[in-house]
Symmetry: C2
Subunit: 396 residues, 2 copies
């Protein structure tokens, strides 16, 4: 959706100090370590990973993840899927409900486009009406193809609500009926179950996450068995986020992890008590900001919530010494208020550069046209690449 | 910053039912009424208005406001000023601190560009260092201009902190010293005081807002008198937002209103007890959204906080009957959870369209490439124009 901005390219090769504020900066070294740890983790657990591209909305990072072993990417929106496919990603899963006939026609067209390149599109459903509407759109696309058309099939996951309380049909019989309905339509292939427990991701204590996830695992397992009792195979149970992925990976029920945030690692996720067996993911995404006003009581920086999302709390201020010495308070759309944390009295001077760790990376990335990739550290590093947020604002 | 998206134009002339979701929609009729009421209000109070374009980030809407009587527009960011000037707006006030030499060079270049068209750029300062840096940049731009150059001058407002607790020097002697410093630099013209009390805008009771604003008025007045005692004129005291503008307009101290939100009217502002003498502003900005999942306990729509900002609370669900019947709960980046409000039990059906009133319009607009202008009502209206969010993401 974003126009390629030629001037960004001029930054490549320049020191990080040349980056104007506020700006979204990726610590490429940390990101690569996160990627390797995830790839190793999935390999060790013999589990597929299809990371969520709703985080980065970038074709380049999607391809980087696939190169590292991911089977494809997940997205939430039809428009995100279109951006990924246009960029050459051939395995895309829309992990969400699509209801509007106009969007479903786009999904069907995209399925054909991906299939023509040997790839595969997938989508979630949670209602009978959703299945029927999807089948109708797929049939219309097939009919429109005429004699030259390929009889393409879309992978369809039945989404069950395993505790999130959002979309998803109840685990059990209702899910079985949806699977049976999917089987009736030649253009749809029942691909398995989506069982994502979003709320479990952010439970702070490891034990709480284990308990919440074990309920999700049990619900997915019992639903799978009910479907299998109808003589249908359940090829894949897919789900998991960065907060809980250890449990899903070890469950023996889930076959695929959708976790995306591990790549950048939110401030919010870092507040979770880490399960010892869980990979260690580092903060790799920062908002560079400058102090534009300084007083005895507080300082003000030029990054407010038009530069970073605050739905999961305020950003943390990165402290190079390894200790947090400044607290960030909401200063509105364009400002952040900085105060000394307990026991520290030094406030940053006018003009000083600071680095914020976003509370939630997904909606933060969506505020920016580009991510500036830096290697060699935030202080003395060099800009190595400019990564376009290709699907920024792609919300339909 | 946004690329013109050709396909949006195809919507013009179509019924509002053709607008895909989620989408940002302006009720053009309501917006025009808000604009007229503001113009009348300013005229009645013999006060200038330079509305904040940080709200709409649109050149077209800035020009519409100027045509209705505004003297120009305010912005928060250098990059926003550049977009406005590039679009032909000739009176732009950066109501914020600019400290980075690179940005100040852009400000100086912009000042020359605007002056060459008979316009005027203005900026705020709140520190001695800020004044010196600005003067240096202006002098360098003048020197770079050579013999052909015009000795352009930038208008400089001293920002005083009248209760916001963010930027701004203390009212009183410290502000006087800044005014005296500005006078020393030929490229700078001391234009007056900026006295904006952001916190006063959102005090719910009219009496509380009156009290907070009266303190701001008193601080601005005493500071003005101190500066005048130094033999300097204070041409203008500027400030005010949509929540408090009645007080500033009636103060006899403020000469200009910066209020911007009145044009669209946030859900948050609507929760303020209205002062009877204050103009009535209507909600004119909506996020159109569709129900994509429906259960007995709740429904889920396709607009989450990647479609609207939630810093000032969740959006309201517009009820056509005049009564609020649904409550919106946070469903994450791409979903909203809808539950029946007290006393109402009917949940919307799968596929139903809903209209959300954003809690805060400024950061909501910044999430979208375009605003879809509809006339004739949200249900049966027609798309009349596509308004580009020209300065979306313009944050440096």
């Amino acid at each position: 959706m974003s126009a390629p901005a030629a001037h960004w390219g001029e930054l490549v090769g320049k020191p990080v100090s040349d980056v104007d504020t506020p700006a979204l900066v990726i610590d490429l070294d940390a990101m690569k370590r996160n990627l390797s740890r995830m790839a190793e983790f999935a390999k060790k657990h013999h589990i597929l990973w299809r990371p969520h591209a709703k985080l980065h909305k970038s074709v380049a990072l999607a391809k980087m993840q696939i190169k590292a072993g991911a089977v494809g990417v997940c997205v939430q929106k039809t428009a995100e899927a279109e951006v990924m496919v246009a960029g050459g990603v051939r395995n895309v899963y829309i992990t969400n409900q699509v209801i509007a006939p106009g969007k479903l026609a786009r999904v069907a067209a995209l399925t054909q486009q991906v299939a023509a390149h040997g790839g595969q599109l997938a989508i979630a459903v949670d209602s009978m009406d959703g299945v029927v509407r999807l089948a109708k759109a797929m049939n219309e696309a097939r009919a429109g193809d005429g004699a030259a058309g390929v009889a393409t099939v879309i992978d369809v996951f039945v989404e069950i609500d395993v505790g999130q309380g959002r979309c998803g049909v109840e685990p059990g019989p209702a899910a079985v009926l949806l699977a049976l309905e999917i089987r009736k339509h030649p253009a749809l292939r029942f691909a398995g179950l989506q069982a994502y427990h979003g709320k479990a991701q952010h439970l702070r204590r490891a034990q709480e996450r284990r308990e919440a996830t074990s309920q999700a695992v049990a619900a997915a397992l019992s639903t799978r068995q009910l479907i299998e009792a109808q003589g249908m195979a359940v090829d894949l149970v897919t789900g998991a986020g960065t907060g809980s992925l250890l449990q899903e990976a070890a469950s023996g029920v889930y076959g695929e992890l959708q976790a995306g945030s591990f790549l950048f690692m939110d401030a919010d996720y870092a507040q979770n008590e880490r399960d010892p067996a869980q990979p260690h993911f580092e903060h790799a995404l920062f908002v560079k900001t400058q102090v534009i006003s300084s007083k005895s009581s507080h300082a003000v920086c030029d990054a407010g919530h038009k530069s970073h999302a605050i739905d999961s709390g305020m950003p943390l201020v990165h402290a190079f010494a390894g200790e947090r010495v400044l607290d960030y308070f909401n200063g509105g759309d364009e400002h952040g208020i900085l105060r000394s944390a307990a026991g520290c009295t030094r406030l940053p001077a006018l003009g000083q550069m600071l680095w914020l760790i976003p509370g939630h990376c997904d909606p933060t990335v969506n505020l920016h046209d580009v991510m500036i990739g830096v290697s060699g550290g935030l202080r003395s590093g060099v800009v190595r690449r400019i990564i376009q947020v290709d699907a920024r604002g792609a919300m339909t």
